[in-house]
């Protein structure tokens, strides 16, 4: 490259002048309003966008479902298992015990979920809040 540098030559010449004064086509009437109309429509419509909290809650929901299923299975196999180990006292004696056990497990999972949501809301970085606020303006 041999360094042809127009600024070095202080070139304000006929060609530069012609290009600077080259007439541009007029903007179509209503172009800017049309653009702003599309933008305002977009701004008013919250865009669907997955964020980390959606993924975290999805993962939590899926794992809780799996845990509930395992707990349910465990409730049915536990009597045989406890009987084999001689832990008869731990075996639910009637349907009330089983129901209480199920309620306890489900309630515990629910409480865990609530705690997780509260923790996420408290610890959530501010940026997603700003974006949601903007999207609904």
């Amino acid at each position: 490259m041999n360094g042809w540098d127009e600024s070095k030559h202080g070139e304000v010449d006929a060609i530069a002048d012609a290009i600077r004064t080259y007439p541009l086509a007029p903007v179509p009437t209503g172009l800017a309003p049309a653009i702003m109309s599309r933008i305002r429509n977009t701004a008013q419509t919250p865009r669907f966008e997955l964020q980390w909290i959606d993924l975290a809650l999805g993962l939590f929901g899926a794992s809780m479902t799996g845990l509930a299923w395992l707990a349910w299975r465990w409730l049915h196999t536990f009597p045989d298992w406890a009987n084999g180990l001689g832990l008869d006292a731990l075996i639910p004696q009637d349907s009330l015990d089983i129901a209480l056990g199920v309620i306890g497990i489900v309630g515990g999972l629910f409480a865990l979920g609530v705690c997780l949501v509260v923790a996420l809301v408290v610890l959530m970085p501010p940026r997603p809040f700003i974006r949601l606020e903007r999207a609904t303006r």
Binding site: N2, H9, P23, V27, I35, R38, T42, R137
Partner: protein, 205 residues
């Protein structure tokens, strides 16, 4: 040429990034003219140019939160327009890249002389405007970005997504063509246009 000072433009961009649609409307008002013409010079179709301009501003709005002020807003915006034009007209990118096939070895280092200092300025301008219309669109884009929008070579390379060397070659080739046209005009080979060069007879192109 848009009328926004750089500081004012940056302020508007920051306001728009915070969700201020009125600030963005001011940016649209300032840049719509050149953006539309950039698309028009590339696509040579008024309808498509209008669509591309709308789409470019919409994309700019949606991508604005990710704009980091590392480049000037207008450079960033022109790049969006150019990318959309490339999608509409793949030949455009090929034409721009083909500029790089020229050798730079014959780019002269001597100052560009002005052989027509004594000609009537208006006649000369009209002649050159007509010649600019006849430039290949790849060269016309580069010279307009350089002289009308006063972008640096680096900014043009960024806006058009082409190598810096290609910008220099394209600019040189365009000037070379215009200079040849000027010389022909001086020698009476080219008629003086009866009316100033059209703002582009875009409807028929």
């Amino acid at each position: 040429m848009n009328s926004l000072e750089q500081a004012q433009e940056e302020q508007l961009v920051r306001q728009a990034q915070a969700g201020d649609t009125e600030a963005f409307a001011a940016l649209v008002a300032a840049h719509q003219h050149f953006c539309y013409n950039l698309a028009l010079q590339s696509l040579a179709d008024t309808r498509e140019a209008e669509d591309v301009t709308q789409e470019a501003f919409l994309r700019a709005w949606l991508a604005l939160p990710r704009f980091r002020h590392q480049a000037r807003f207008r450079t960033w915006l022109y790049r969006i327009v150019t990318n959309l034009c490339y999608t509409h007209l793949p030949r455009l990118r090929r034409n721009l890249e083909a500029l790089a096939e020229d050798e730079l070895a014959d780019v002269p280092s001597e100052p560009f002389d002005n052989p027509l200092a004594n000609l009537q300025v208006e006649e000369r301008r009209a002649c050159l405007h007509a010649q600019i219309d006849r430039l290949p669109e790849s060269q016309r884009l580069i010279v307009l970005l350089r002289y009308r929008e006063e972008l640096s070579y680096e900014e043009i390379a960024d806006a058009l997504d082409i190598p810096l060397g290609t910008v220099k070659i394209g600019l040189f080739r365009a000037r070379q063509r215009l200079r040849a046209a000027l010389l022909e005009f001086e020698n009476g080979c080219l008629p003086t246009p009866a009316v100033p060069a059209p703002a582009g007879d875009w409807s028929g192109r």
